[in-house]
Subunit: 143 residues, 2 copies
């Protein structure tokens, strides 16, 4: 399951994607419209800013806005940033690999294969899921 933090991040991003190239959006605005606790959202946006997904502008008339294009932001990078590994087992993770404590010997472990397959499929599907796709889908459903 994705954490609340990650879900908040996705909702905030879709909201910002809707307003792409329309200038900075206040944290307060995002927080109210998406019903996210403002202070918590601050930390989330800051993290995405540090990851160069968002930019911010300080002072009056400031706020956050998408740095990358909506078609260049996919779910994989958001999930990795917010929650960490995509894989269901650490010993099968590409970006957050750790040897399995439980396994006596990774090389002869019969369990890993299945989860490698799941990881690959998830990676394939979610790296194709961009903010642009989600926005498009949202508009379709609102017709």
């Amino acid at each position: 399951m994705l954490s609340k933090k990650c879900k908040y991040a996705i909702h905030a991003l879709v909201y910002l994607a809707e307003r792409y190239q329309q200038g900075p959006v206040h944290i307060q605005d995002i927080a109210e419209k998406q019903r996210i606790p403002k202070k918590f959202l601050e930390a989330i946006l800051l993290e995405m800013r540090n990851a160069k997904i968002l930019h911010s502008k300080k002072g009056k008339g400031g706020g956050y806005y998408l740095y990358k294009k909506p078609e260049d932001v996919n779910m994989i990078e958001i999930i990795r940033l917010m929650d960490g590994a995509i894989a269901m087992l650490p010993c099968v993770s590409l970006n957050y690999y750790e040897p399995c404590e439980e396994c006596r010997d990774e090389k002869t472990c019969g369990i890993r294969d299945a989860f490698t397959g799941v990881r690959d499929e998830t990676l394939k599907l979610l790296s194709k899921s961009t903010l642009a796709h989600m926005l498009k889908r949202q508009k379709e459903l609102n017709k």
Copy 2:
């Protein structure tokens, strides 16, 4: 990520699958060989017994053994039992559905689709992953 509980469960099951139809196996034996805290393992095995995956025999010469055939126990049922939902979002879960707090309106949410796809693929792959497969794979790797 799967919980330790779930990983322990899978390892214990593979261990029991190796000893299928060879009589009851002591908790103590499983705990030592798979390096799982005994008391914790007790709770795990009990849960799987209640779910009719295992049977147990009390008293001297007792222990746990597979009730289902190794080819009839797949990863999906184990994960659901130990960790709950397979899906990454509650609003997309088949067995543990809950409406998304974050979403204003589920019907017009552009986010869900992507995660429905991931859920379906995961379900497809992991319901084909049985203890029998894992055991076979383990034997291959040990050659």
